[in-house]
């Protein structure tokens, strides 16, 4: 199953607008996508659920791990990596 690790550099962490954009990107792909807070070592949650993503409590500088499985999985990971690495378009 394709997976990748990313560092969230946005000052808000995965909260407010970055969280909403993260989820919107995930929702635009058909595959199952999960995200995990590596820094606090929490179990993975559904990346398409804004509430689940918020409950991860990811702050600035935290490491997250994203996995994708199914149709267009690689493409989804690339899109998410791009979003996070481009600091959510800011």
């Amino acid at each position: 199953m394709p997976a990748l690790s990313l560092i969230v550099n946005h000052p808000a962490g995965l909260h407010a607008r970055p969280a909403a954009e993260f989820v919107k990107t995930a929702v635009s792909f058909p595959c199952a996508i999960t995200v995990r807070n590596v820094t606090d070592d929490k179990p993975p949650v559904n990346a398409k659920s804004i509430l689940s993503v918020l409950t991860l409590g990811v702050n600035q500088g935290y490491e997250i791990e994203v996995t994708a499985e199914g149709e267009r999985a690689e493409e989804a990971l690339t899109a998410i990596a791009e979003l996070v690495n481009n600091n959510f378009g800011e």
């Binding site: 909403a20 989820v23 509430l51 409950t55 702050n59 979003l83």
Partner: protein, 572 residues
Amino acid sequence: MKRYQGLPASGGIAIGPAWVYRPVRVQAERRGVQHPDEEWQRLEEAIHQARVQLEALRTRALATAGEEEAAIFEAHALFLDDVELLARVRQAIFEEQINAEAAVEESFEHYAAMLQALDDAYFQARAQDVRDVKMRLLRILMGVEDSAAAALDHPAIILAEDLTPSDTIQFPRDAILGLATVRGGPTSHTAILARALGVPAVVSVPLDLDAIPAGTTVVLDGDSGEVLTSPTTVVLAAARSKERQWQQQREEATRHAHRPALTRDGHQVEVVANIGGVEDARQALSMGAEGVGLFRTEFLYLDRTDMPGEEEQIEVYRQVFELMEGRPVVVRTLDIGGDKPAPYLDVEPEPNPFLGWRAIRMMDRRPDVLGSQLRALLVAAGQTDADLRIMLPLVSRLDEIEQARALLEEARTSLMAQDVPLPGRLQFGMMVETPAAALLAHHFARTVDFFSIGTNDLTQYTLAVDRTNERVAHLASPYHPAVLRLIAMTIEAAHARGKWVGLCGEFAGDVQAVPLLLGLGLDEFSMAPVSIPAVKEDIRRWSLSLCRDIAQKALELPTTEAVRRYLQEVAP
């Protein structure tokens, strides 16, 4: 006298009677159900209604507070789409066979508790948002009035345990003298809203709400964070003099906003407001609006199952016209489409609602909708001596103007036959929001009295960028030279025919764009009421001749980034 110390959240002094706000508490009772599918259907309907309510709050916040505040309600709407949350509710209803209320209560609480347990204040604050949305759904499911906030019918200082953003935005604006809450921090939504509304506020005040009878005199100091109840005569007198000082300062700022927007070399432009209803019109006037540049009428048509009657429309238009007392009011006729389905108008979900059967295009199959709106506008304006300016949305073809004008004539003739008084002043114009309209502006300028450029849509259609698609939304900039050239073309074509041009997108409220738009020759700037004082102030620091040079230079630049960089250089 009692003295309480809280945290200052929004500056200013307020003195007035206490009004203790106790939100409607709805308690979800858990019971077993025989027909889970019926419960699920009730829930789906409630979610739909909640969405409509949130959209209305968002629009209201956009006009009275600003975009950042409006985003709060957008975030709330996102919770209603949450797949995991909905799966949890579904499971509770179908597997545990419990009622929708209990399923909502338990599922939302699950997430609220998890957020509350995080050790970061920002994440903890989201628990309040989740509960706000939960209460909204429960109130709808249990048929309880949306909010007790609207019950406030006299100016008062509002005291509450806590206030959700939905509560705060729903208090009648004129009735809020000040806000004090027992809970909440200076970065809470309520504090942000209070500042945007210009209302003094104090949070984290250890008030004993049950010990403060309604009507008790309260002094609230939003700068020091102090709240006094039943002040002594001496203290009250001191507070009153401080209040007068603060009010004088405020009046001065507002007076500035009420002065015309003249450039340093004496060129005057009109600064007007975008509104979505009567309340917004009031707010617009207090912020110094010289009229209305965009009156969105969609709210009359949403969240209902039948056409609004003419009487109902007339009443709303009349109220706005009366408030504006002869100032210009540009009314945009219905701009609805597949993104906001309204079955009674035959508007259905479409794969490309922004390229679909919407706005002026509905005139082919449903001329009755525009016809009835035009009649209502004429009647209301005739009763109130309004300076009515009717504006058609999404025009791309010349024959659309002809057909709409024929409907207007038809309405006018039939009203005249009934001896209904008609407005003395009437302009007929169009939005320029398609590249087609801008490119053919020289033809359109012959057939209409004015243009208003809708930069949000013009940008989206010119650059082929869906603003709601997060992966490309950042590309949608009105500073793109292609958009600027279309704006320049439109203004030039209109002026050549002696017609005026307004701009009613977010671009008009963007201080950075002021020299550019002045230089391009824009006659009217229309924006959210809150942006008016700042934009007026900015217009006053420029001279038209300098702006003309700036605009010419900007038009020659190759990229969005180059334009922005250039503007930052000339207007730091």
